[in-house]
Symmetry: C2
Subunit: 261 residues, 2 copies
DNA sequence: CGGCCCGTTGATTCGTCTCAAAGAGTGTGG
DNA sequence: CCACACTCTTTGAGACGAATCAACGGGCCG
């Protein structure tokens, strides 16, 4: 189904968003000990010895081409995925209608938590660029919990944070107008990039206008118009996918629902 | 602040939604062993002996009057709450604007999971009628996890299900029109009532039009108009708060985004 | 070069919000 | 017990925002 897309290679024209991490493709065995995603996957309290023994649990990585599917809706759930590099979207295939994009995930974020409850994935995850994920077999998570209680508590914290994030997104969708939605979306992306050590104000959009629109409940035309308007108002500088926030405060104001008109 | 509201007693005029559970107010010590919420709080695999020892962990209950706040936004998080009886709303106080309702919770559902991640509650929970909750001190949850791994896995499952639910709500908000939103809301309420052993097609709305509107991202007038229209179309029978679904299939069709026009 | 996907912009239509007023239900105090 | 106040609900008229339909330009690939 997506075999066509997988062939497309991603042109590396981006200015700053994703530095090469120098990962050897042959090296499939993960080493949590030296992984720079440590802070995400594990609580800070784990010491070196514990991390070393953890390496028995998280052995595999997987590399995906642009457009490739990591897991599908309805697929049996048996692992969580930590995004090591790259960019993903999650979507729910809406029969007959266009697919609904339910989220975007970048380096350092966890994919697949929706599957824990029902034993099956509740959405489809697709790579938006060449990406690499770290597999955490979930059958083991229970066992891990007993050996590393703090690790399990950490997973709980991650899931709870996710719930809070969803709530926030929910709120934006429920009572913000289109301009606030898009502004909030841009600000949020910036925050997440800055957490990775990149600039919060200059980055490359990995997704199309249509995907943004689907995610925000807007038509792709509205998204395009808003980008143009933001540019006119001196809030951002957009060159198709390349985005620079030139007036972060103004954008944040709009995001919080205080329109200037 | 809510001391005024607490005095109001709730008139028990409802036809079918909440049978009296005959709970003795003096009996504050919870007994998970004989609790009819067993299936919610605990995995099915726990045997009687395990349940007995669990009673050391979940000792307290709390009774709330209508309008009373269970916990507030920003309050330190230290317990999860299982709704034993009654009805709650969660909301985020939007400074200056009207509050945003983020959810409604009924008997058998878990309140407070948003607080696990940040250590503070991310919303406010208010009782919409006389309600009773079961306190689960969260400091203990970690300890419980080690003694009862299946219990902790159960909590994970609950949180994951919550994430999936939120995603679904997100989707409805993102690309459904008002009529589909309200229809989906009604159908969802019915499902949840039926899980409690009540009719999925006849129940009492515990919340105002404004609260429904806030939750669905609609104005209260739109909600009211939609109820009227659904009634005209023979889908439901509404007497202010008393609701009966007269055409479940038709309502479900609208909920899923297949409008008849 | 031609085809295709993506993005932009314009004209029009339709849905929902806002403002407004009046009716219904409930609790309060004389 | 009734009048009053208050909140919640219903319904209408008008304004505004976003979707839709449509056309065109640009970049990328075969």
């Amino acid at each position: 189904m997506s075999s066509k897309n997988e062939v497309q290679d991603f042109k590396t024209k981006e200015p700053c968003t994703h530095k090469a991490r120098g990962i050897d493709v042959a090296e499939l065995k993960a080493q949590c000990l030296h992984c720079d995603l440590n802070a995400v996957c594990h609580p800070p309290s784990l010491d070196v010895k514990e991390l070393e023994s953890l390496d028995q649990w998280f052995p595999t990585r997987r590399r995906l081409q642009r457009g490739e599917t990591l897991f599908n809706l309805g697929e049996p759930f048996n692992a969580l995925y930590a995004v090591r590099s790259g960019f993903f979207k999650t979507l729910v295939p809406n029969d007959s209608q266009r697919d609904q994009v339910t989220g975007f995930l970048m380096t350092g974020e966890i994919l697949g938590m929706d599957g824990i409850g029902g034993g099956r994935h509740a959405c489809r995850a697709v790579a938006l660029e060449v990406s690499e994920v770290c597999l955490m077999p979930y059958g083991n998570v229970d066992e891990i919990a007993t050996s590393f209680p703090t690790l399990h508590a950490h997973l709980n914290r991650l899931m709870s944070q996710r719930i809070v994030q969803d709530q926030a997104a929910f709120q934006i969708l429920a009572n913000m107008r289109s301009e606030s939605r898009l502004a909030a979306f841009i600000v949020d992306l910036g925050k997440r990039f800055s957490r990775l050590g990149y600039s919060p104000n200059t980055f490359v959009l990995r997704m199309t206008r249509e995907e943004i629109g689907s995610y925000l409940g807007l038509s792709l035309e509205t998204v395009s118009r808003l980008f143009s308007r933001f540019q006119e108002d001196g809030l951002v500088d957009v060159q198709t996918r390349h985005l620079q926030i030139t007036n972060p405060e103004g954008l944040a104001d709009i995001a919080s629902g205080r329109p200037a008109h």
